[in-house]
Symmetry: C2
Subunit: 417 residues, 2 copies
């Protein structure tokens, strides 16, 4: 069989383990020297392909590539850039195929969330339409855990572990300080409450922190929230709240809407915790503290879930194996075969089935009052945070790798997109 | 020698390692069964003594006490309660001595910061004045590192490590996302910038995150800050800022007490990070993210500094040894004997010298432009975050101990304070 080159790119918000998938893609492809020629990575995701900015990962040693497994962030740069429909952006798709053709890309591996799986799917379709011979495979990635079909999504387990550990630790702190009554931790989750739900693992039940969880799936009712906070303080002497950034009022507006939008057209959010703290202060007068995790939660490789790291590696490896087997327009997914003991395997799904569908928390994962997680939710979440996978340390800090990121020589005129 | 009982209490804001000091106090005292009778802990610090709420730590197993070494927060409850001068609050001091007398307390070990060392000192003085036979020893504790005399303060090394690791990880995240230009991390430090300074360890120099550090010691000049942010974004394509919660304007007012509105139109609630983000957006228009660590930073036992844990244990142990040797009115301190290799030992200082004095960052630890740390500061800080000391985990979460906290039977009428 003819040797072809491989193009890999990272897309959307990065995670603590997306580089573990990159590590797997490169290591697996390097082991197939008779099938795979050069292994390129897009500088800043798909934009790197459009601009013909192809990083030659062959310039980095096996040791550096191995270190990606324990390095957070996106080693080649990531970007929020959504290709429009084939009708609207034919020029972009044509440019991608030109770049792929110029560099003899036979394998396209795209690592991202729902929007990115949509991009991968469109590229897959367009290439076939243009009769360009390429195998396109997605690699699932999102801290939000909102991809359908796959049991869970690499990237989520580690942010879940960060949020559960942080809630546990902050809860102990609040419990030590009788003067502080309310603590609010704001976590990511624009439309789906998976990350907030993970905070619920910190306590055995709602008598332990967190006492209240606020999900985007449940309309935020200020009066009921205030009642719950008062009840918790009266009963347990404190109230720890984990709040999704994406909670909405009954009229559908975000509690923390900023008025600005990101490149995908999503509203930029932030500041739910200070808003809720102000509500608590105004209505109840309790002494409070609040924290906003923001990027810390998704970059916290130091407290990554071992299960998550293993799954991120497994889907990267499977993607290359699928591409080499000619499996086009699909992505590897995580299939759970047992809750306890937790067992999983890698399966496959069509990109079309995963693209642009948001998997929200099912109703039976949220208690009937809307403020906590159910036993079913615990059974689902618990295995995903299992195990530690510490990075190496030097002088008190994790040793994370910075690749050389040497660009391949361009062969085409500059892109005027 | 006659057996006497010991009273230990935790005071002020808790840390990731104050329980390691408690562990050392109890373990060291338990090993002196011929000298020490019961080992009590105050429920909620000194308030527990005033209310005669004495926790009998003898009800907890050696295994539980050993687990304090890796458990964050204050195991017996802590409180912000400052005794006034002997003249103003004679009744309180008298009550303390009554409680001590009723329970034959011969050793008083008080674990806290500057205010608490003041309390310990007053108790020491008053007991002598009342001819009550007791030996009073302090144990240094504060995340703020603002105690004088001691080279550093147990509790600080772990928050320093948390902030350095978080800045490193968030910096990698920001560097992966070319669309996000500015990231602001707000950390503790109301009057002293030690914690913010620790963020500076994340990069080898100011070309790496954090690009800007804001200290309470340096008046906040908005125009100069904006210039620095622009310069960083133009030069490095991003700007990571670590900001002390306690930064002030040239007129002395806290930036967090602005009374303005944040980026999301909500009333400003005391968050420096959202305020700075709003300034950046208004003046420069860059896409930004911000995080507020709050309690997470000081309870993050999962990423504690091994040096810090060892020092917290060492001062607890030394305090009991000092008390048994009749050393009254002093506290153990950390004495640095070498920067590299880092060497330290436990020394002693008078409580009067440590009480109510705030050690701020010396001028030569801050660069001449006021926005970063110097080599001298790095040499001082670097050893304090060294080494990891992971807690045990079960099912993905750290196993932290919850003591029984059984109260001793009261012997006195209720306190009407």
């Amino acid at each position: 069989m003819k040797k072809r080159n491989l193009f890999y790119a990272q897309s959307g918000g990065v995670t603590a383990v997306i580089n573990a998938s990159a590590c797997a893609v490169i290591e697996t492809a390097r082991a197939q020297r008779d099938r795979v020629g050069k292994i390129y990575a897009g500088r800043m995701g798909i934009v790197g392909a459009l601009r013909e900015e192809l990083i030659d990962t062959g310039k980095d040693s096996a040791k550096s590539i191995a270190a990606l497994r324990h390095t957070p962030g996106g080693a080649f740069g990531s970007v929020r850039y959504k290709l429009k429909s084939l009708e609207q952006s034919a020029a972009e798709y044509q440019r991608l195929i030109e770049v792929f053709r110029a560099h003899d890309i036979g394998y396209f591996i795209y690592n991202g969330g729902g929007d990115s799986m949509d991009t991968a799917n469109k590229v897959a379709q367009f290439a076939r339409k243009m009769d360009y011979d390429i195998t396109c495979v997605g690699v699932p990635k999102t801290v939000d855990n909102d991809l359908p079909i796959t049991d869970n999504c690499p990237g989520f387990g580690s942010v879940a572990k960060y949020v559960a550990v942080s809630t546990l630790e902050a809860g102990i702190d609040v419990g030590s300080m009788p003067q502080t009554k309310v603590f609010i931790l704001e976590v990511m989750g624009r439309h789906a409450g998976w990350i907030a739900a993970a905070g619920g693992l910190a306590g055995k039940d709602r008598s332990e922190p967190p006492h209240i969880i606020l999900f985007p799936e449940v309309p935020f009712d200020e009066a009921r929230f205030i009642d719950k906070v008062r009840e918790s303080v009266e009963r347990y002497d404190s109230c720890v709240v984990v709040a999704s950034e994406g909670i909405r009022r009954p009229d559908g507006s975000f509690v923390a809407e900023s008025g600005t939008k990101d490149a995908f057209g999503h509203a930029q959010l932030g500041g739910v915790a200070p808003h809720l703290a102000e509500v608590v202060r105004g209505k109840l007068g309790y002494k409070f503290h609040w924290a906003v995790s923001d990027y810390l939660q998704r970059s916290a490789r130091h407290i990554a879930s071992r299960v998550d790291v293993e799954q991120a590696y497994a889907v990267g490896k499977a993607a290359v194996e699928m591409a080499l087997a000619g499996v086009h327009g699909k992505l590897p997914i995580i299939v759970r075969t047992s809750d306890s003991p937790y067992r999983w395997k890698v399966g496959q799904a069509d990109l079309t089935k995963v693209a642009n569908v948001e998997k929200k928390l099912p109703r039976n994962f949220i208690t009937s009052d809307g403020f906590h997680i159910t036993g079913a939710c615990r059974r689902y979440l618990a295995p995903l945070i299992k195990g530690e996978d510490y990075p190496p340390y030097k002088d008190g800090l994790p040793v994370y790798v910075q690749l050389k990121n040497v660009l391949e020589k361009k062969k085409l005129p500059a892109w005027e997109g």
